[in-house]
Symmetry: D2
Subunit: 398 residues, 4 copies
């Protein structure tokens, strides 16, 4: 069926900064390159600064601008609310949207606390009975190489998993004069590197293995404890203002853990890995093979097949751009790689498909809650001198 | 100035297949992420199959569909004609568009023969007097790492260039049962790997060095001389039909050459490099440093700075995603890589900017002619047993 | 001074298996390629199996064979005792050698327990008063890239260190039918992956940073708990015999820790990293730069210099084969890489030089004791559910 | 059979510089790590400077020093003459050695001219009737990864070969003040980069493919035409003296060619590839797979198996250190890499084995002659403006 004959789904997005632009691009491309069961209509963008939101609206084709997020939710032509605001606002907006009978896509991490996340997961579960769908935006799952890794594991190609190693390395805070933006304030961001990027690698390792992280021993650190206050903000960059303030979140978190299947794990999330811009490195060693991934080479998956004779065995550099690979057929010919933003299109397509086919999208708010519990365990362990801290496991899902 | 206040430029695009989709995405994103002096309006898409063109129109927001390319050119609201059709139609369309006073963007290679290319370059030069601009679509120039390489060379960072090595390696014809599509027919495609991908690396090496290829000794080969006739075509893939036909183009071309500045060069363009999907590898060795690039890792440029002390010298893997790098600031934060398609946006932006600022865009039709002459020299050399064949140099440009 | 005019030092080596061959090659090459202050004379090799030891003697030029290690120590022409036997014999032999006034080189780990290591370190300290030198064989320190990394850190090139990540990954136990050799028996080997390879990365990270590991939270695991008994042994490989036995050591150990300077660290030592044969990966992120190393590419050091402008910054792949690099001038021209065994020559040269110049070689038995304490802390932490376990710091050395 | 019971072969080596040291190490290690049918005895080293030769003798265990190479050949206890001198002396020495009934190992290239090489090949063929063996020292064939590549090709794993690309890149002449050593003088060295390193990649590509290079179109260049005269020489390095002289050899040679099986080839040999120290890169694309090698990562072979399904296909990074790989079992456990020098041991072992088993070693003097003819064709082509120049094919061998 040609895409223009699909029923539409009205999208209302709240937030218009970095994530707002990425989501806009995702929604717009969804029905340009794919044929999801529902065709997204970019109905309204919400933001307190109407002029700024309006500029993004014009650039990406949002039809309306709302400066009050409650008004956006209230619109009849909005069927789905996409939450791209800082973490301290997620719970309130999501609960209101679900209460209003709107599907919800919420950026990660789901919330700033376990309590908020729990309330959201419960609300989502209730709404589910009425066919209302909700999903958390762990976009990196939608990188084709990651989705392919998930498939290899599910197909048993690496066997029983013994080792998980995961690193999310950035370096944008190495400069001690980098200003104290909202991402460095606990009341806005919940936590620092842990919730911002650590949450991603917890999700990715759970997604790829199909297992849960069961417990951790963790260390966190704030290397630079005081920073200049921020001035004007330009995207992720901000100018420096007069005065200095306390950094109230972690700069880095490292932890060891165990997965429910018995695998040993090491995790590292940091904004102080000098020279590593956005390096997400994952490796899984199993009884029959291994998988490795680095987001700096995002179109590639390394696969070691233990069934290969020793003289020919090695890590195979699979360029994940074949039409048979997840998501790829919709785009360009083999070898014509995708970039960071394409994950947002895949996310939009997966969500539109799930809603259109009346299925639950993944990751659910319950999954988001489980990750929030893992983040909480990391903080608890770190606060108690790296003591072992089990992670409350989710009840078996429906 | 916010982008929506910019004057607009009406775009009419002919062709709606692989290149048509890439160009559509380029035009659409141009004013979403950048602020070019002119804002492109996607006025009309042209294609003989109106239904197919219409589907692309709806997917990407083209306002009108024209099944006759002459009608598209004739539209008053079309200011620029973007030619995305096979090479045998380039000359006729481009000449008509220029005659109608429209700016022209023409996919590479400029034409199928030197004669056609010469006529086009002359027409472009005449139109130039009336402020009509024309450009050839050597998109890979717009990959940030390549544009950064050009800058390093221009800044003298690698000194006098001694070696150029360039490879464009694909493998989509290794299977002898892959069908005889138009790209394998001389009357449609002009040549095979040579014109399709060899043209790119000739352009890229000339662009990065700022020099011209002066002469070549070349070998070409058609490894599989007969193939099944094609059936239905799906993007770059085609089904197989009954009967077989002769492959009338080269499968591979290899040549040595000299640049005007004295550098020795090796070139390889092939569709038979098993395992290499779309590998464009460039290396430049100079008296003061070296540069290396591989499109399989397209966000990276390798730079060897000869001024570094020996104990610390080496190829530096520059991840070309900093806001200071060409084109990058408009997109995502450092480390969030771009993909294949982004070059088409950069191309659109560069062209819109040049027209808006009343400057000549690059590469010009004259540049396209020069490359056609190089392709012709390669074929002449190959036909005469790899004899040395000089390339006619362009007259000094205006 | 030509090497043959140097005074000699009589070497007596105990053990003739894998390590015995590596040390033999090291001693032999020391005065072929270098000019250490003392010229080693390969006086005697000791082993209970006289025939097997004799074969190694003939292959590498050892002049005598002793089947009783006490007799070897007692020889007047033996000035230095090189201990290449399993860990459960280190203490007894080393104490006897020191008591006999012989210099000692002892393979790592220094001993199987802290108690033994303490006794050895105390004996070494006493012997030191009489000019008797002792050293532990942490050979990987002598890889030129590692020694160069140490120099960069010492020169302040990466500033204050924030992150240490270290992995020693092997996979030779993935097959559950691989036999129960002595390395899998606690009474012989002390521990498993932890002491065998974990000891190396603790030493390497302490060596490169110049700091001590201060505490850990650790998990260890034995994935395959029962294995076939071993039959005949061929080097590192053994045949399988009838019956099965319990594996009494760890297969893998993972831990987080802190260094004395405040850096956060993750460590992983495993024999179950399918596809990783002998991969030692180290990364150090500092306030001014970063360093990365992988033994699979052992002639290379990756260096990120934070002082480089952003557009040109990146990890530089330094091929550590320049004459200005540590140890390299003695060998081959630039680009002609060294292999695993060369570290043993460098170790021999460093030790001969220290003895000849009447200086203390490094790492000392006290350093070996510190590592033993770190290994002990890892086991203690793992046994108490990954609880944080501080590592007793060495008293300030002389 | 233990190595010491093997019959011995008396080795006399002429030359004691870089190659002399590498060969010494090769002979010495041959019976330490392997069990060749004959055990080499390091009988005599020859060199005009008796003191310098004596120093090398003492370092590596040569029993005698001869300052007249004719005297060395004349010694009864010398069974094999190993020629490590500059190319202009190869023919005279080799002819004399063969005439004296001695086996000969001659460093590459076999000679400085086709005429010399022809005389040598004929003499070798005559001597062969008397059981006298001769071999040329193309050592890189003995790198395990290369030998493994040869095996994969021979086993049909990459099918019919379509593309050969070979580069030998060095940069030691980039500095125009680097002195005019013998390697830059045509009368001593025969040619420049072409004979010194181009000869290696011609040999390697012929060895791996099992085919011959049939013809070439070539360009050569001398970028720096005048250099300071050399002063004292230290290994490969020399001081600068007063005065300047003409460089009479090529700095770089690039050529395209065809192999006898139809493959297209590109070759590049240069001493001006800034930043590339000793980079030998080979790639072979065949109808069923591909192979790639880079000497900067010499323990690794990249293998693309076309039989693998597209979703899992890619270049596999085979770490060629398994006991099943060529030469490897004699050395260290898997993952403990070899270095540059080990090829010389493998060469010695292969030669000793062939002589001991009364077989012809490879590459023969006839193979050396074939390469000399290829070098000559390159020079002929370059001198005639890159005209196509066929290479005289060897008569079918015995």
């Amino acid at each position: 069926m040609p895409s223009h004959d699909r029923p539409t789904l009205g999208i209302g997005m709240i937030g218009y900064s970095f994530m707002g632009m990425a989501h806009s691009q995702g929604w717009r491309n969804a029905s340009s390159f794919f044929d999801p069961a529902l065709r997204p209509e970019l109905v309204a963008i919400g933001g307190r600064d109407g002029a700024a939101a309006g500029e993004v609206a014009r650039r990406f084709g949002w039809q309306h601008v709302e400066t009050d997020w409650r008004a956006l939710i209230a619109r009849d032509d909005v069927d789905l609310v996409d939450i791209c605001t800082p973490g301290d606002t997620h719970a309130e907006i999501a609960l209101a949207a679900l209460a209003a009978g709107k599907h919800v896509l919420c950026e990660k991490p789901l919330a700033n606390t376990v309590e908020e996340a729990l309330a959201m997961a419960e609300a989502a579960e209730r709404a589910r009975a009425d066919g209302i769908r909700s999903m958390v935006g762990f976009t990196y799952r939608r990188v084709p190489a990651i989705a392919h890794a998930r498939k290899l594991v599910r197909d048993g190609r690496i066997g029983e998993i013994r080792h998980v190693r995961a690193q999310y390395l950035q370096d944008w805070l190495v400069d001690p004069e980098s200003p104290l933006t909202w991402r460095l304030q606990k009341d806005r961001a919940g936590s620092g590197a842990l919730g911002d990027i650590g949450a991603h690698i917890i999700d990715l390792t759970q997604f790829v293995t199909g297992e849960q992280l069961a417990g951790v021993s963790a260390i966190t650190e704030t290397f630079v404890k005081e920073r200049p206050l921020p001035g004007a903000v330009h995207g992720l960059r901000a100018e420096v203002s007069d005065g200095r303030g306390q950094v109230t979140v972690d700069d880095a978190a490292v932890f060891v853990g165990r997965f429910t299947g018995g695998a040993l794990a090491t995790f590292e999330a940091t904004r102080f890995a000098t020279g590593r811009k956005n390096s997400i490195r994952l490796e899984f060693n199993g009884s029959r093979g291994s998988i490795a991934f680095d987001f700096e080479d995002m179109n590639v998956l390394q696969f070691f097949d233990g069934a290969t004779p020793a003289t020919e065995a090695g890590f195979t550099r699979v360029v994940v751009t074949e039409p048979e690979h997840p998501y790829v057929a919709a785009w360009w010919p083999a070898g014509h790689g995708l970039g960071y933003e394409h994950g947002f299109t895949h996310q939009a397509v997966d969500l539109l498909t799930a809603i259109g086919e009346d299925r639950d999208p993944e990751p659910s708010f319950a999954d988001g809650l489980a990750i929030q519990r893992a983040l909480d365990a990391v903080e608890t362990s770190a606060a108690s001198g790296a003591a072992w801290t089990p992670i409350e496991q989710p009840a078996p899902t429906h």
